[in-house]
Amino acid sequence: MELFKKILVWLMLIITLALALLTFAYFNISVLPEIQYKKYQAVLSKSAAGDSVSVNIEAENKALDKKISQLNKRMQRLIPGNAFLIINTTNNTFELYKNNQLIREGKCSTGSFISLEVDSTKSFLFETPKGVMTVQNKITDPVWTKPDWAFIEEGLPVPPPGHSSRREAHVLGDYALKLGDGYMIHGTLYQRLIGSPVTHGCVRMLDDDLEAVYNTLPIGSKVFIY
């Protein structure tokens, strides 16, 4: 009986201690940050003196509506006119817009983020550049002019510029849209890889999507890449 009583008291002491610790932790971890935020906001929220000065609501509303309408017009002017393309390089997806309406979306492939290390001074990073680019040229049945890295990654000697071995037909699909700096939107033989980050920096698309993009985007269209 005595032992049972002893155990019971110690148990009560331990439980009380645990409760005290829990309350301490809860207050410091959860409640205190909230109190801090409320205190901070309360000081900032205090209305400044003079806020109660009478206002001509009607006139003020009119002026604000006018300003909103002007700003809306300026915002509208920023949206690319006819058609544009948005590429998401993280999820490897695209959205094609025409007259500000989404007309097609789907998977694509972008840069693999592989850095091909040739030696301590030379490397190639296969990354799709982020930002806004412009369709500079559109071609059908494109022929790939292989850059140096295409030989280096195959362990082959790099031929001189303009060498016939640099030209390879039927690997870029039926169409290509040139974006400048060697970057293109084109097709691929490896359709099953579309949706994965596997390219050397270009944007690869499925045949049907590529055709739609080619037909929708005129030269000069914006391509937004993020």
């Binding site: 940050p33 909103i68 915002m75 948005i86 195959e154 362990g155």
Partner: protein
């Protein structure tokens, strides 16, 4: 009862001492925490021009909404002049968006926000300060911004081998950044559970972040309000990778 107290004297004294220490620490932290929050707010108020604090129209809800819209559009137009991708956090519509040249490239719905609402009753000057275009000054994430994989170029054809990428999926994103307008933002991705349904425990996440803060600054000597946002993980990662280092951020609430 008296007999019990005498018999378990050591236990009771320990309990009282520990409880007293905990109360003392809590009281001390409370005083420090509220003091630092008040000082931070006062410093903020002191940095705002007096004339901006006084705006008679601001207290009229209808006009306030319009003024907020105007500021948001003006910020967006300013950001549109830059060639960089930037972030718009529109708490009023529960949207986070990536913008470039005034075109919205990605719009992600805020699944959960804490505190909610965030800074609802600000005076005009403080609102202007809160919504001015801010720059990310520090950022930490559990994923790299650019997931670069280094591969040695083969010396000849025989050395060419297929590059095997890690097939383990990335963890859900936790991205914390500090803005130069003294606001911390934590964006957490909501991933899919084994049943392919969105799975997250907001309270557990918050607990983890708050414990992390206490570990870093045991004594809360300075204060910066923190906005916690939860987004779909795919969107969160796309936004994280899109926004450059020292990227620009605009708010609306």
């Amino acid at each position: 009862m008296k007999e019990l107290l005498v018999k378990f004297k050591a236990g009771f004294i320990t309990l009282i001492v520990i409880t007293f220490i905990l109360i003392a620490i809590t009281a001390f932290r409370y005083v420090k925490a509220t003091g630092s929050a008040e000082n931070a707010a006062k410093e903020k108020l002191a940095s705002i021009p007096e004339e901006e604090l006084h705006n008679a129209s601001w207290n009229i809800p209808e006009i306030q909404e319009k003024m907020k819209d105007i500021h948001w559009m003006e910020r967006t137009l300013t950001l549109a002049k830059s060639d960089s991708l930037n972030l718009g956090i529109n708490l009023a519509d529960s949207i986070v968006q990536v913008q470039l040249k005034g075109t919205v490239l990605l719009q992600a719905k805020i699944q959960k926000q804490t505190p909610s609402p965030f800074f609802e009753n600000l005076n005009y000057g403080t609102y202007l300060d809160f919504t001015k275009i801010a720059t990310i000054t520090e950022e930490v994430a559990n994923l790299p911004k650019r997931p670069i994989i280094k591969v040695q170029a083969p010396k000849n054809e025989n050395e060419v081998k297929e590059i095997k990428k890690d097939t383990i999926p990335d963890p859900v994103l936790v991205w914390q950044f500090v803005l130069d307008n003294q606001i911390d933002v934590v964006i957490t991705g909501i991933g899919l559970g084994i049943d392919s349904l969105p799975e997250t425990n907001f309270n557990k996440d918050l607990l983890k972040y708050n414990v992390g803060k206490i570990k870093k600054h045991w004594l809360p000597e300075t204060y910066q309000p923190t906005l916690y946002l939860w987004l779909d993980d795919k969107d969160a990662k796309a936004i994280f990778r899109a926004i450059p280092e020292r990227g620009k951020v605009a708010f609306k609430n």
